[in-house]
Amino acid sequence: MTDAIALSDLVAEADRLYRDYALSSVMQWKARTGGLAVGYLPIYVPRELLHAMDVLPVGLMGARDDLEIIKGDAYYQSYICHIPRSTIELGLNGSLGCLDGMLFPAICDVIRNLSGMWSMLFPGVMVRYLDVPQNFDAAVGGAFYRRELQELAAELERRGATPLSPERLRASIAAFNENRRLVRGLYQLRSRQPWTVPTHELYLLLRASLVMPVDASTAMFAQYQALVMADDSRTPLDQARVALTGSFCEQPPIGLIRTLERAGCYIVDDDFVQVHRYIQHDIPIDGDPLASLVTAFLEDGVASPTRYIGDGVKGESLLRRVKESGAEGVLFCAPSFCDPALLDQPMLVRAVEAAGVTWTAFKYSENGGQFQVIREQAGTFADSIKLWSGV
């Protein structure tokens, strides 16, 4: 992307990358660098480690509503969520053929079992289940996670990646720190001036970033920020400010995000494409960088429903997000059959109700195409906020 790019062109380019099932940008990167590309599923993987070994981390989040699922449906019963079937479809139709490996983070039983299926369906590909700890004691869960990362690095090296070194890892952490800072900055800007950063645009950037090298992604976020800040044509509308939660794995169709905005909602916080914000602050680059990566996961990971909340209070994090973003209500927006989101939801509902925050809930699937009911529900919700908030 050039310096002179127009905002509409930048968003169009992000949209193109978002829609590129064939991962042509990844193929181009591989042709240019000769490096390995490794796909990963939601929600979090330590991209810094891959980057430090000259491996391109490629975020995969299923498909959209424009991919006909034929083979994928033959692998899953109707009561399983949609993301594994579209991921299988993309694997079997050759779209993911440029990936040298796949990482399956430990987030739920569906993604867990998909890792075993992948190893059988694609025997030449590196398949690794990234078993992140649910014990957050540095000496116990931290030690285990460190060993997991060392094993991952060893496996990547066996497959031809550049050996991991502290210097290279520090540089990668610095690169991702800068990237995360920009994403955080855009989220903050959106919560202050949601008309400046429409969620459907920000979302496209977050998705595009999944298939880009970190430096290019950082440049894209910086350009976007500069362009929207300079755009005087974006003016406030009478919309309700809402925080959206539950969409951390299977993603809603972009049409659903637009529908919510058109229904009168400014989405001022969300958990879309969470890998960009899973680690909430800069990771220190002094000292042992692998230890820093481990500590960041243990101590600074978001309170995702996939993460055991031991000593903390369920819903505390959501309420903090609501407060910090200035949201006036919460949209519980989870994929159908998503165990982590839907099992978590009653606890979060209880927390927001206790805090006097209004909410509504609906479900979606990534290939859903009819949003009329949700539009009416969200519109009514937004109207109720505008009518009754502050009364």
């Binding site: 692998y75 890792s115 075993g116 059988m120 700890p133 014990n135 031991g310």
Partner: protein
């Protein structure tokens, strides 16, 4: 079905001594639980897969297993009401019905399977093995009971084996977190000698259980290793592993099955002894509990015997050789937790089913896919194809749920089973021709 599919003869059900013994053991356990508020005995809620029963018993803590309470609620016809209560409280229709049945039971006075009130937990021992939902379940219960929780995170056998790193992680958690928490809750110091005694008793019972399960390799099989095995694994999967009661139960059960073998008898079914074993099948997936007897009869009426099942391994893969080893108490508990069936990756599950088909001389296999159990269900269609391809034996696929009666369609399931067994008949006839 053809005229060859004449229902087998059955006799009236008579309870074996081991069944009576098990019933008495359970009754005594629930009596102790009901009296706990008066006696001061303390209890720990925990899960079946990866449970640390011996450790709990060494601290004199009484185990309570919410999964078993849920399935018992279903068998008593209560789960529909309990699930409805939970759904009215905001629990999604998409999620695990064990959880919703448990929440509904709790909100209805926490009356357990024997009709007595269960005590509130003094601690929730979250043995997070092979099922993501366990974690959320105890987060939910913690909000209800406001009691301490100790998490034991058991890594997944993603590459089909237990690594030193996994074992170390589990042992470290047991040593530094589980034991200190149990000491605090029980008011007792960790007593390794007592733990070793329990582990010794566990291994004895495990030997006899394995003998019973493997008796199904005989023709005819003297047991049903899916429906019948539910009763056989009950004590060892729940509160009794590591006790003299369990040792006595499994010794008695083994003697009874040995006698059935000697007499050439088939398994006990809901209608009594079954003669004329016609089909031998391996079953993958948990049973439906709301119509358990009806479901079982669909098999036994057609002369079908389950000779091996994966559900009977969710509480431990003893038939593959694992035994609790008192000489390494923490390591052996770690290996137990890591080795439960739902903690095995899909390739290993496929290998196991294929092996069972061969070793148990089965005609085919059936998958009962459970709507609300992703741990079991996600990937079962892949399992179906792979096992068929490797074994050359046909698989059948039926769908139901654990404890939600809305998802048990008797007519559909019966039709599928009849078609499946008819197909086995035709293959057999084709082979004979």
């Amino acid at each position: 079905m053809s005229s060859r599919a004449k229902p087998p003869a059955v006799a009236d059900a008579v309870k074996d001594a081991s069944q009576i013994r098990q019933k008495e053991m359970i009754a005594r356990h629930f009596d102790r639980l009901a009296a706990a508020p008066q006696t001061g005995e303390r209890c720990a809620y925990t899960f079946v897969p990866g449970n640390l029963t011996e450790l709990l018993l060494s601290f004199d803590l009484l185990p309570v297993l919410p999964e078993i309470n849920s399935l018992q609620s279903a068998m008593r016809g209560k789960s529909a009401e309990y699930i409805s209560i939970a759904e009215k409280l905001g629990h999604s229709e998409d999620v695990c019905t064990y959880v919703k049945s448990d929440i509904g039971m709790l909100r209805s006075g926490n009356i357990g399977p024997t009709g007595q009130r269960l005590p509130n937990p003094d601690i929730l021992l979250l043995s997070y093995t092979g099922c993501f939902t366990f974690m959320k379940w105890f987060e939910l219960l913690r909000e209800e009971y406001r009691c301490p929780v100790v998490m034991l995170h058991v890594p997944y056998q993603a590459d089909g084996h237990i690594t030193d790193s996994m074992r170390r992680y589990v042992v470290d958690q047991i040593r530094t977190q589980v034991i200190p928490q149990l000491e605090r809750v029980s008011g007792r110091a960790y007593d390794e000698d007592r733990l070793k005694q329990c582990l010794t008793l566990s291994a004895q019972a495990e030997d006899d259980l394995v003998w019973v399960l493997q008796s199904a390799k005989g023709v005819p099989s003297p047991i049903d290793a899916y429906f019948g095995a539910v009763y056989y694994v009950g004590p060892i999967f729940s509160s009794f592993r590591g006790t003299t009661d369990a040792v006595a139960y499994y010794r008695e059960l083994r003697a009874e099955i040995a006698e059935r073998v000697r007499l050439g008898k088939g398994p006990v079914t809901p209608d009594g002894d079954m003669d004329g074993e016609r089909f031998r099948v391996v079953v993958e997936g948990p049973p439906n509990w709301t119509s358990f007897r009806q479901f079982w009869k669909m098999f036994s009426d057609l002369g079908a015997v389950s000779v091996a099942s994966t559900y009977s391994k969710v509480g431990g893969m003893y038939d593959l050789g694992y035994r609790h080893d008192p000489s390494n108490p923490l390591e052996t508990m770690a290996d137990y937790c890591l080795g439960c069936y739902t903690n095995l990756n899909l390739p290993t599950r496929i290998d196991l089913l294929t092996r069972y088909l061969d070793e148990y001389k089965a005609d085919g296999f059936l998958i009962n896919s459970i709507k609300s159990c992703n741990s079991f269900s996600a990937g079962q269609l892949h399992i179906l194809r792979e096992v068929e391809s490797r074994s050359g034996k046909p698989g059948g696929f039926i769908e139901s749920d654990l404890v939600d009666p809305r998802y048990f369609s008797a007519a559909n399931i019966r039709n599928r089973l009849e078609s499946y067994f008819q197909m086995l008949d035709q293959r057999r006839a084709g082979g004979a021709a």
